[in-house]
Amino acid sequence: MSVVKHKVGFRDVVKSLVSGARLTLHHFLHADKRRKPVYISDESYFEQKEGLVTLTYPYEALPVPDKGRYRLHNEIDDCIVCDLCAKVCPVNCITIESVKATEDIGVTSDGTKKRLYAPTFDIDMAKCCYCGLCTTVCPTDCLTMTPVYDFPEVDIKNMVYHFTDLSPEQAQEKKQLLEKQQEEMAAAKAAALAARKQQG
């Protein structure tokens, strides 16, 4: 075991003072160099050993990984309102309300037939734990995570993101249409039943 010798002589003191001063001067003289906001895969990422390390954040930022998990986005045109995401969500931050469509409302971009409207499709980003489970279960890949991670709000209510493409009036109309259709179907059923009874 080697014993570290405590150095107290005048020579040693001056030596250590000079080496300290040289170190800070070295940093001061290399202040013209600056770290660049490049991704870790960039060749120069580990080469930037000298110069200032601060990035002036809102003006420049390190790129985020492609598969990073940040703010959710739902492309409502491709959503079939299957409710899988809301079911798998461990923190229940997704609220979905669905209304059956009365007519043909087209297909998603991957060809799945859409049968439901979503009068409510809310994600509470303040509750979200960014686990990404909802994006894995999504059958049409309409729910994705974007590279946006900086979205503070003054009012916490604004952290609830509304993805529905229906206005409240439109949603009401769709509901009424569905009720009407169901009433008609019920009436038709009742009529058919009555007719059968008369026959029998």
Binding site: G20, A21, T24, H27, F28, A31, V53, T54
Partner: protein, 369 residues
């Protein structure tokens, strides 16, 4: 004339202080691989001005249990003591606010008043951190005045004068233009028997640290002691942020705090100015006359002319800024000393060295005549 000198001195002091405050933040940032202020103005240059504006808008709080009179007077007294020191600083061959014959003595005396202000602030605040800070500060400043004073004394012995302006003239090509010094001669390293006269060479060769190389050691002693006198790191125990919050001015806010802040930085500027005047050739150029290439004459100007005022001010200020940079450099490099280490350095290292220096300076003076 007195009013003009007052205005020039205070505006010059404010400008230099603003520059130093900005430089402090930038130098600190660069040494720690940070950016420093970047938002306020181009490269953050408006930061110190905006800091002052912010301080002026703040509420002026006087603690209920404070000794209100002492609390109110302390910042004014400290600033007045430091600012009064600027009165005897020669800015160029002809420009000096107050050409006092005993300038060095006056400066040492008036700066000591600072200690009373510190104690008043610490005691008046009725706060234990402020009191501890003030006591440490006073102990430190009073102790370090001894090596600093002795180092200045060795300069006085070499120069045979207490007049800042006379000491300034002795360190350059204009020496014989000063009344009373017409027959004086400068010799290389101050040793007459070497037979190498530097009276007309000027530049670096006639600066006090070369005119009498013993003063180079005195300069280092004075510089270390002056760091302690203006409570700068590594001797910032009175203000030790990590243990005493802010030392004696912990209870101060707004304008009163701004006054302390200004006084502290003005003190830094003042001790550097004194170091430059007494050791590093004052307002004299560092460039010597080499044969037909009269660099010293070209960068000095004829005394009395505008050129000499501009050159004198330029050399004085730039040398001061270099020393101020060294102060900042030391602050952002060295850790704070313990109280016992501080006293050890003062009483067991610097004081014996400076007493030896006084003796050596006396002997060296014998070589010069």
């Amino acid at each position: 004339m007195a009013l003009l000198a007052f205005v020039i001195t205070i505006s010059l002091m404010l400008v230099v202080v603003i520059v130093v405050v900005y430089a402090e933040r930038k130098v600190a940032a660069f040494m720690q691989d940070r950016l420093g202020p970047t938002e306020a103005g181009p490269y953050g240059t408006l930061q110190p001005l905006l800091d002052v504006l912010k301080l002026l808008q703040k509420e002026d709080i006087i603690p209920a249990a404070a000794d209100k009179k002492l609390f109110a007077v302390a910042p004014i007294l400290i600033f007045a003591a430091v600012f009064a020191g600027f009165a005897v600083i020669p800015l160029s061959p002809t420009l000096v606010p107050a050409g006092v014959g005993i300038g060095v003595f006056y400066l040492l005396a008036i700066i000591s008043l600072d200690v009373i202000g510190l104690l008043m602030a610490g005691w008046g605040s009725n706060n234990k951190y402020a009191m501890l800070g003030a006591m440490r500060s006073v102990a430190q400043i009073v102790s370090y005045e001894i090596p600093a004073g002795l180092a200045l004394l060795s300069v006085v012995m070499i120069c045979q004068s207490l007049d800042f302006q006379e000491i300034s003239y002795q360190q350059g090509v204009l020496m014989n233009a000063f009344p009373g010094l017409e027959q004086e001669q400068n010799w290389l390293f101050g040793i007459r028997s070497l037979g190498f006269e530097t009276t007309t060479v000027g530049g670096l060769t006639t600066w006090n640290i070369f005119r009498a190389p013993v003063l180079l050691v005195a300069f280092i002693v004075y510089f270390i002691a002056s760091l302690a006198e203006c409570n700068r790191a590594p001797f910032d125990i009175p203000e030790a942020e990590s243990e005493l919050v802010a030392g004696f001015h912990v209870e101060y806010s707004g304008f009163r705090f701004a006054t302390f802040f200004l006084a502290e930085y003005a003190m830094m500027v003042l001790v550097c100015l004194v170091a430059v005047i007494l050791f590093l050739g004052s307002w004299n150029t560092p460039l010597p006359n080499i044969g037909p290439i009269a660099l010293a004459n070209w960068t000095t100007g004829a005394p009395g002319g505008i050129a000499s005022v501009v050159w004198g001010g330029f050399w004085l200020i730039s040398k001061t800024l270099v020393l101020l940079f060294v102060q900042l450099w030391a602050r952002w490099t060295y850790p704070r000393l313990r109280v016992d280490q501080l006293m050890h350095l003062c009483w067991k290292v610097l004081t014996p060295i400076s007493i030896g220096l006084v003796l050596l300076a006396g002997l060296w003076r014998l070589l010069m005549i």
